[in-house]
Structure formats: structure tokens, C-alpha cells
């Protein structure tokens, strides 16, 4: 079957620290992955994506790492801020943008 899962359901960090959120996926045929942030009462918001021909991609304060050998994704957030508190999902894109397969999510809590 298809599944994308997260190793940690909750993560609590101090403001200013770096955060790392992990994700395992099972469909080795997928070639595109996305990280989403979901705040309470809102829909998921795109953070960063990566294609399978890459192993690292950087954005503003965020970095996504992809390890295809062990089917593992991670999202690194530098200098975590209170506004980063949310649930983070990794998603596997299936069928060229049609279907997203989401994991359960990790709740990130940033302590001031």
C-alpha cells in the first residue's frame, strides 16, 4: 500500500534553536515531495519541495533533505521562531500533481 509516515508526532524546541522534522515514505516510484505547514484552523501551506533527482534543497530558513536509499525526508528549520509553531506534513506527489499522499504530521511547538 501507499504510506508516508513521520517518526515523531510532537517536537518541542526553544526559540532560536534549529528544528528537524523527519518523514519516511514507502513508494519508491515517487519523484516529488513537498513539505506543508498547517496552522490551527487553516489549510496546509506550501513550504518547500524537492524532486527525486536532488538530495538537498534550501529555502529561506528551511532545508529539505532527501535520502532515496532509505526512503527518508527531513525538514530543517533554522533559528526556529514562535511563528513556526504548527503541524508539519510531508507529502508524496503521485501522478504528476494529482494526488498528494500525506503523512500523519508532526506538531512543532516553539518555546519563547
Amino acid at each position: 500500500g501507499e504510506s508516508v509516515g513521520l517518526h515523531l508526532p510532537t517536537l518541542s524546541v526553544q526559540e532560536g534553536d534549529n528544528s528537524i522534522i523527519n518523514c519516511a515514505y514507502s513508494n519508491s516510484a515517487s519523484d516529488y515531495f513537498i513539505w506543508y505547514k498547517q496552522e490551527s484552523g487553516k489549510g496546509p501551506q506550501f513550504i518547500i519541495d524537492i524532486r527525486s533527482n536532488m538530495d538537498k534543497r534550501q529555502g529561506q530558513r528551511v532545508t529539505v533533505l532527501l535520502n532515496k536509499t532509505v526512503k527518508h525526508l527531513s525538514l530543517q528549520i533554522a533559528a526556529t521562531q514562535p511563528g513556526d509553531s504548527a503541524v508539519y506534513f510531508c507529502a508524496e506527489v503521485y501522478n504528476q500533481g494529482g494526488k498528494l499522499i500525506f503523512g500523519q504530521g508532526t506538531e512543532l511547538s516553539v518555546k519563547p
Binding site: V4, G43, F89, G97, L100, Q104
Partner: protein
């Protein structure tokens, strides 16, 4: 620019009833997808429509149906509601790979 909009924001139904949820995509986006998000879980894919044609369907019963209109807006219909249909229903529109989500409709089935 307006993002993806959904209506209504919240609604409460009883078991056995039918519900229609609405979604307006970002201007210029021709693809709309629907997801169900049960509390504490990630969204689950229900349907994708592109140019008014169903392009994909998730593992949901036939009680769930959808359609897309010429202006690319979309409706999701759920018949014979069950308690387990209580969830946040998300609509996403896309131009290419990236999907932009609306705020969702919170459906409660009593």
C-alpha cells in the same frame, strides 16, 4: 490575489443527510482536488478534477461524488452521511505540480 475559497466554513448535519461543499480555485487554475482531514491525521485524497474531467479518485465510497464547472469551481457531495464523515474537507487548486489549499470546511455529523 484571492486564494482558494471554500464554503461554508462550518456546518452541522445529522446521520443520513446529504451535504454539498463548494470550492473556488485560484484564478487561472484548472485543476481542483479534494481531501478529507480527520482530526489528528494528514489529509486523505478524495478526488482530482482537471478541465471538468475526473482525473483521480481516492479510496472513498460511492457516497462521495464531485464535479467541476466550466469556471473551474467545484462541488463535493456526500450522501447518506455517517458519523465518521466528520472531518475538515480541504480543496486545493493547482496550475502545475504545486497545490494551493483553501481553509477548508469543517463538517460535523451528529
Amino acid at each position: 490575489d484571492a486564494g482558494v475559497t471554500q464554503s461554508p466554513t462550518h456546518l452541522i448535519k445529522t446521520r443520513g443527510q446529504q451535504v454539498t461543499l463548494r470550492c473556488s480555485p485560484i484564478s487561472g487554475h484548472k485543476s481542483v482536488s479534494w481531501y478529507q482531514q480527520v482530526l489528528g491525521q494528514g489529509p486523505q485524497f478524495i478526488f482530482q478534477y482537471y478541465e471538468k474531467e475526473e482525473r483521480g479518485r481516492g479510496n472513498f465510497p460511492d457516497r462521495f461524488s464531485a464535479r467541476q464547472f466550466p469556471n473551474y469551481s467545484s462541488e463535493l457531495n456526500v450522501n447518506a452521511l455517517l458519523l465518521g464523515d466528520s472531518a475538515l474537507y480541504l480543496c486545493a487548486s493547482s496550475l502545475e505540480d504545486e497545490q494551493f489549499f483553501g481553509p477548508g470546511t469543517r463538517l460535523t455529523v451528529l
